[in-house]
Symmetry: C2
Subunit: 230 residues, 2 copies
């Protein structure tokens, strides 16, 4: 393989990578609500057939990242405050329960991983407070954010809960990106994540649930201005 081929990153990608890529483009707000997702257009970005894209879009539709209507194809779901709150409430319910089980079952190894994940996330978020071009950091921030929340529930003992949370995390991000500026990044997240960490390490499930609730309560106090429900 030549060096020139390296720039052509789209040479040959498996479906899993295409899935991750499109989901990321949705969560980062590049693919905007309402936009139609035509397999024949997207194929150019990934160097594969329309059929392969179609399969990926089907899988994304199962996770509710795109809408699908028979004979009418795929499109990016509308971002509404109603839907965002629905996703948030579901996520708070499940993440609180899963965190409580992790607190009850997690060992010292789990504590160490949670500390490490929080350290990376906090470093990133402090750095982003003063960043010029926020856009450039969103992808990495998203990864660290997910790694922290994933680690929090990683000892809960139920892959069902964990996988459901994974989908909800990205659904939440996607809705947020379509409704608020700065891709949903806020100053307050640093302290909020710290509160979740402390409650988890203190093995206090009630306090942890409350910290999780707090982490998402900003939507109640300060509803996004452009959040018409249609």
């Amino acid at each position: 393989m030549t060096a020139a081929a390296k720039t052509q990153v789209t040479d040959h990608i498996d479906q899993g990578s295409i899935y991750d890529s499109i989901r990321a483009r949705l969560a980062e707000g590049e693919l905007k609500p309402g936009k139609r997702l035509k397999p024949d257009e997207l194929r150019a970005d990934y160097g594969c057939s329309a059929s392969a894209i179609r399969e990926v879009l089907f899988r994304l539709a199962c996770g509710r990242f795109v809408d699908f209507e028979e004979q009418r194809g795929f499109r990016v779901p509308e971002a509404t405050l109603k839907r965002l709150l629905e996703i948030r409430d579901f996520r708070v319910l499940i993440e609180s329960e899963a965190a409580a089980r992790s607190i009850a079952r997690g060992d010292m190894e789990w504590e160490a991983r949670l500390n490490a994940a929080h350290h990376k996330l906090a470093h990133m978020e402090v750095k982003m407070r003063h960043a010029q071009r926020l856009r450039e950091h969103i992808a990495i921030w998203t990864r660290f954010d997910w790694e922290f929340h994933e680690t929090l529930v990683s000892a809960c003992g139920s892959s069902l809960l964990q996988d459901t949370l994974h989908d909800l995390f990205y659904q939440y991000r996607q809705q947020l990106a379509g409704l608020v500026p700065d891709y949903g990044f806020r100053e307050g997240t640093v302290d909020e994540h710290k509160a979740i960490l402390d409650a988890a390490l203190a093995r206090n499930p009630e306090k942890c649930a409350e910290a999780i609730r707090q982490h998402f309560s900003f939507l109640d106090d300060d509803p996004p201005s452009s959040a018409g429900t249609v």
Copy 2:
């Protein structure tokens, strides 16, 4: 469209119907755990191409009704007590929460629909107590059972909760069918459903949650004999 075309139901089936059909065959235990699901074999049952079956199996994999491994195709997931309990616990968590919200928000119309759904289910379950060939009634019983649980949460205000419960209902049934005799039908369900109905109509969310927990507690007292975890 002519009247004659209506009778020819098997001529041309849309993907949604194939999805429902295969999911039902899984929930009723016809397609047994471990069995490989080859698109080229299943196509004969539905008169379409292997590609169409492949897409349906992908969608079933999203709902966790079948396992998918790259380059190795699809197969019916193993039924284990561990997995069954995981699904049960998740379902109890969500159904309790969704029922509580329905109790808080549901109007008289909701009460009426819940009564109607329970009436049909109870009638069916009493009839099945003395039925000779249980197998013949499973499909209808499954529908009535789902309609009752669906109606219970239908006023919760979150389509996310409702759709998640829909998947969990069939996942639970599928695991149960693979682990216990009689497709999971028990004598006790009549009284248990009645307790859920009464608590909901009494607008008592705590009592309703307890009744739901009770409805699934038989797995703790009387673990299925053939439930080796592999």
